[in-house]
Amino acid sequence: MLPTTLNESQIWEALKEVEDPEMPISLVDMGMVFDVSVEGANTKIQLGLTATACPAIDFIFYDIRERLKKEGCEDIEIELVWDPPWTKERISEEGRFILSTWGLSV
């Protein structure tokens, strides 16, 4: 497949399908995607983690790359953001709803 370039909103849409490895919420709804920028064939994603010791970094990076590869993006740069830090306020309404119900259906 020839490398195609997606625009930024298409990248956001694709990232909405990448789940946090520890719960059924997308990285976007978790508020972990801080910024997406496309320059030529290069896609740059700024990602905020909930903790520096995130045990799932490998999975998150891998899942992002795999998802975007499906769209033909090959040149993907993922940069971690700490300032401003990720906070719970970044979680979307949908994310909050999933968080409040997930696993609590005893």
Partner: protein
């Protein structure tokens, strides 16, 4: 203790009543509950030193962090479960630090040395799958309320362990070569270990107190089928051979060897051409595996001296 008879209690439970306090229990119920919780607590606890042993050879900071996160979860689950036992009148401190190694009730699989990071990956895929299968059942079916509620957090976290195992198993197998060979070698001894985990087949042992009191809802064979239906397809999709397949006629997974068989722990090898009786299996379990003492000691090593010093003795 309950004023109800055992029969009346069972009828109440049958109608979906959840037991919340010891006052509602009969002697028989409490005994069966303690037995099943102790197996769970000891299993969670002893998985920690065995996973830690494997984590020492993690190939990167990221993989080591994932491994430690799993270990912390397991210790946390043990803590929750011993706390449930304490609420039933057991002494948590004695259970953890006071018992002899052979008194721990963890399955034989956690008496084995996990020697490489790859074995941790396969353990997360196979053993934690056994754990989820065994704990998913009471989460749905158990009649003991506090246990059911405690399993929300535990099951959530076990899902990450499973994913850790399955994703790395796939990735290492895709890479092929030495990595895949190591996965196959680990699967060769860990898969039959998982099969055995679920105990005696139903035709030899049908009614147990645990089922009658609805502490759990599914039989050994039903649980084993659930486990096989996850682990066999996973292994096959990775190109890893395991001695079991789906039988179209019976519409279930069947083993390609006579079950149970003999195991040589010093070689980590199953002797598929040496079928044994369940009495012989129980004997092997009772003798415990090679790392039983080492793992228990790693938990208990510093307790006695430190407490003696703290209390001013020697």
């Amino acid at each position: 203790m309950a004023t109800l008879s055992d029969e009346a209690l069972k009828q109440k439970i049958e109608k979906g009543h959840l037991i919340e306090t010891t006052e509602e229990m009969t002697e028989g119920y409490k005994k069966a509950l303690i037995q099943i919780l102790l197996v769970q607590a000891d299993t969670e606890l002893m998985s920690a030193p065995s996973y830690y042993m494997a984590a020492r050879s993690a190939p990167s900071m990221n993989t080591r962090l994932s491994a430690y996160a799993v270990i912390q979860d397991e210790l946390g689950h043990a803590h929750i479960t011993y706390q449930l036992l304490e609420d039933l009148g057991m002494d948590k401190e004695y259970l953890i630090y006071g018992r002899k190694p052979h008194e721990f009730k963890n399955p034989y699989g956690f008496d084995q040395p996990l020697e490489t990071w790859v074995e941790l990956v396969v353990a997360n895929a196979y053993f934690d799958r056994a754990g989820i299968t065994l704990l998913g059942d009471p989460f749905e079916n158990t009649s003991y309320g506090p246990w059911k509620r405690s399993l929300v957090k535990i099951d959530k976290e076990e899902l990450f362990h499973l994913r850790h195992g399955e994703v790395w198993m796939k990735r290492l197998c895709e890479a092929g070569g030495q990595a895949k060979e190591e996965i196959q070698r680990a699967a060769d001894w860990m898969f039959p270990m998982g099969v055995e985990w679920f105990g005696m087949p139903d035709h030899l042992k049908r009614h147990t107190a645990q089922l009658e009191y609805k502490l759990k809802g599914k039989t050994n064979d039903e649980l084993r089928q659930i486990w096989l239906s996850a682990v066999v397809p996973l292994s096959e999709s990775c190109g890893i051979h395991v001695p079991a397949h789906f039988d179209e006629a019976q519409q279930e997974y069947v083993l390609d060897y006579e079950f149970p068989v003999d195991y040589d722990p010093s070689q980590k090898r199953w002797k598929f051409d040496s079928p044994v009786s369940w009495d012989q299996v129980f004997e092997r379990w009772k003798k415990r595996g090679p790392y039983n003492e080492i793992y228990v000691k790693s938990i208990q090593k510093h307790y006695k001296d430190f407490m003696a010093m703290l209390n001013g003795g020697n």
